[in-house]
Amino acid sequence: MPRSNSLTADHSLAFPGGYTRSVGPVIGRFLTELRDGRLVGVRTAAGGVLFPPVEYDADGEPVTEEFVEVGPDCTVGTYAWVPRPRPDHPLDRPFAWALITPDGADTAMLHVLDLGVFDLGAKPPKTLRAGLRVRPKWRAERTGTIGDIECFRPGVTAINAPVRADYRLSAGQALSRFLGGIAEGRILGHRCGVCGKVYVPMKGMCPVDGVPTTEEVEVPGTGTVTTFAVNNIPDPRAPEVPFVSAYVLLDGADIAMVALVAGIPAGEVRMGMRVRAVWRPREEWGQTMANIRWFEPVDEPDVPFDEIKDYL
């Protein structure tokens, strides 16, 4: 860096229009094939294939006149990851410089390896490794320069397959009636005419007897935790962890329903604990179970295990 008090001036040196350079028959053939979308190497007198072709091999011998199509599948040898490209780099996002050997060639070429879109400064992806199989990405308009290959990129190993089905769900009579009750702050169930068991919410049928059920029963919002899980895996569709999903046997019901238990540290929830429904403010009610925010403990002694053991 010049000292701040030095006199400085910018200067660019460029031959107007660029030099006109003869490439000779060997390099010329290589560039012609590049223009036409092919990779070729050249056979040496010793029988190897040089890629990219040069006119004289490492022993100083002229190469033969035999050109060999190589690639398009290539293998990455060594590489350097560029997390922050410079302005004159070929890509404006992270990429790698790599030594790339086409199948059928004995030597490698340095070129650009594009592994996809990464944030500036990104660490090298796991896919970047020696042995990675790649192919050239050709420019649409080619002129016979090394830049006719925009970059190399890995083969297609997976596709993204969006699958979507749109439904309109109908609640059916039983669930509509149940949610209608919930909209009024009531918890409804059905008593089976055969076994006498009370199902909350009702299904409109008894799964044991296979008969329709119609006798409506209202149960209170109080009940007993029969068993539960403490969920520690975050899920966008679930409450914040840790949350307790519990089987709550409402008083008067014969089958427990799964509900959120809150208002108590997860580690203090117990089998047999008495709980009550906590309703949202009435103005927020709709035909949805969300009207009940959760169940919270009530100040009553726990129910002995013997009294809940048949509901597990």
């Binding site: 190993t157 997976a158 397959a161 699958v163 439904y167 769900l169 609640a171 669930l175 949610l179 076994c195 068991k197 009370v198 199902y199 008894c206 799964p207 044991v208 029969t226 068993t227 539960f228 899980a229 403490v230 969920n231 520690n232 895996i233 899920d235 569709r237 679930a238 409450p239 949350f243 999903s245 519990a246 089987y247 014969d254 089958i255 799964v258 509900a259 959120l260 997860a266 089998m271 949805t288 179970m289 969300a290 295990f305 053991k309 048949d310 597990l312």
Partner: protein, 385 residues
């Protein structure tokens, strides 16, 4: 039970987190070709193909049986797909066995698979439709309360699940196909892992695997021509029950007890711990070993954890369970049941390799699925029944 039926070929892929190198078709074909090679057959020799996998939502491939007909050489042959949630691998084997026992076919190829890496099973099992919201996230979220109920009901100590988690992973080290191969697996290692769905710890759950398994089932005349020893089907049974009904025993479901009673009766088994030499049982969460020991009648109610604790179910115990490492070590869900059935067969064929139970002559293969609603079991033996 009808005509005799035998397993004459078994093929498995290696179970891995990701098999990015193959398509689903390539995966199932890998297992199928290995089973055919074991049976000394080619696709041309097969009369019918039965395939099974867990819900289509797992990979988002609808009607995969249609897509896989070519890969499984099914052109011009009957092909069908079975689906009973997690028990599907077992049910698929039993549907195929039924085609042989019914005298319909001589050689049936049965294949089951899952490629879990293509999506996320927890998402697919918890679709949370509107109107009936659910708090349950994934299989662990469903089974954890029932495990807690088992522990409370039987007084099972906290460390029993850890013992099974260690034992099955030790067995997996002897199985070259197993997915989880944890050198030096120990109680301390399991106990150091977090509670995902208390009371289930991370290492007390099954992995998420890609893989496929296949078998060739044969009639007696076809089995007599097989190059390797057959495993004869001594009993086969399926049962199911609804997920919710008043009075359901979710810890010790009646459908499982009924299914076991049926399969034992067919096989002439009165005391499974004594009469069987080993068992491959669907244990996706370690606590299900003591739970199923009771459900399957290997001991009395409340005694399962004591059997586990005593070491009876270890590879050197008197009734080894999951010598292969089980579902806890490899879980391509749709295939997991079929792997149990196939591993039971390999034991009585004497072809289980390093995890062979010495002198095994009769073995149980078991699978369950859904909310412990679907059961599929078979008993296979080295002798023709």
């Amino acid at each position: 039970m009808g005509e005799a039926c035998a397993v004459i070929g078994v093929g498995q892929t290696h179970y891995r987190s990701r098999r990015n190198d193959v398509s689903i078709a390539g995966l199932v074909r890998e297992a199928a070709l290995r089973a055919l090679e074991d049976a000394g057959l080619t696709f041309k020799d097969i009369d019918a193909v039965v395939v099974g996998k867990a819900p289509d939502l797992f990979e988002g491939v609808m009607m995969p049986e249609a897509y896989l007909a070519d890969a499984l050489g099914a052109r011009g042959k009957p092909m069908m797909r079975v689906h009973t949630a997690g028990s599907v691998g077992g049910s698929t084997a039993l549907v195929a066995a039924g085609l042989v026992q019914g005298g319909v076919h001589d050689r049936v190829l049965v294949v089951a698979w899952e490629k879990q890496s293509e999506s996320n099973a927890t998402w697919a099992l918890s679709t949370h439709p509107p109107l009936t919201p659910s708090l349950v996230v994934g299989a662990g979220g469903y089974f954890a309360p029932h495990i807690r109920a088992y522990m409370r009901r039987t007084g099972c100590p906290d460390h029993i699940g850890t013992l099974v988690a260690v034992k099955d992973r030790q067995n997996a080290l002897k199985n070259p196909y197993a997915h989880l191969r944890i050198e030096g697996i120990s109680r301390e290692m399991v106990e150091a892992t977090p509670m995902l769905w208390e009371p289930i710890r991370y290492l007390e759950t099954c992995p998420s695997s890609d893989g496929a398994a296949a078998m060739v089932l044969a009639s007696e005349s076809a089995a007599r021509q097989a190059p390797n020893p057959p495993a004869w089907v001594h009993g086969a049974a399926m049962r199911s029950e609804p997920i919710f009904f008043a009075g359901r025993d979710t810890v010790n479901p009646q459908a499982g007890k009924d299914c076991a009673a049926d399969v034992y009766s067919q096989a002439g088994i009165t005391d499974p711990r004594r009469d069987l030499d080993c068992a491959e049982v669907y244990v996706p969460f370690s606590w299900y070993e003591p739970m199923w020991l009771e459900n399957l009648g290997f001991c009395g109610d409340g005694e399962g954890w004591k059997l586990t604790e005593s070491g009876a179910t270890a590879l050197d115990g008197d009734i080894p369970w999951n010598a292969s490492g089980g579902v806890l070590s490899s879980n391509p869900i749709g295939a997991s049941g079929l792997i149990r059935f196939a591993e039971a067969a390999q034991q009585v064929r004497g072809l289980a390799g390093d995890h062979q139970v010495d002198g095994a002559r009769r073995a149980l293969g078991h699978a369950y699925g859904g909310g412990a609603q679907f059961y599929a079991m078979w008993v296979v033996g080295s002798a023709r029944p």
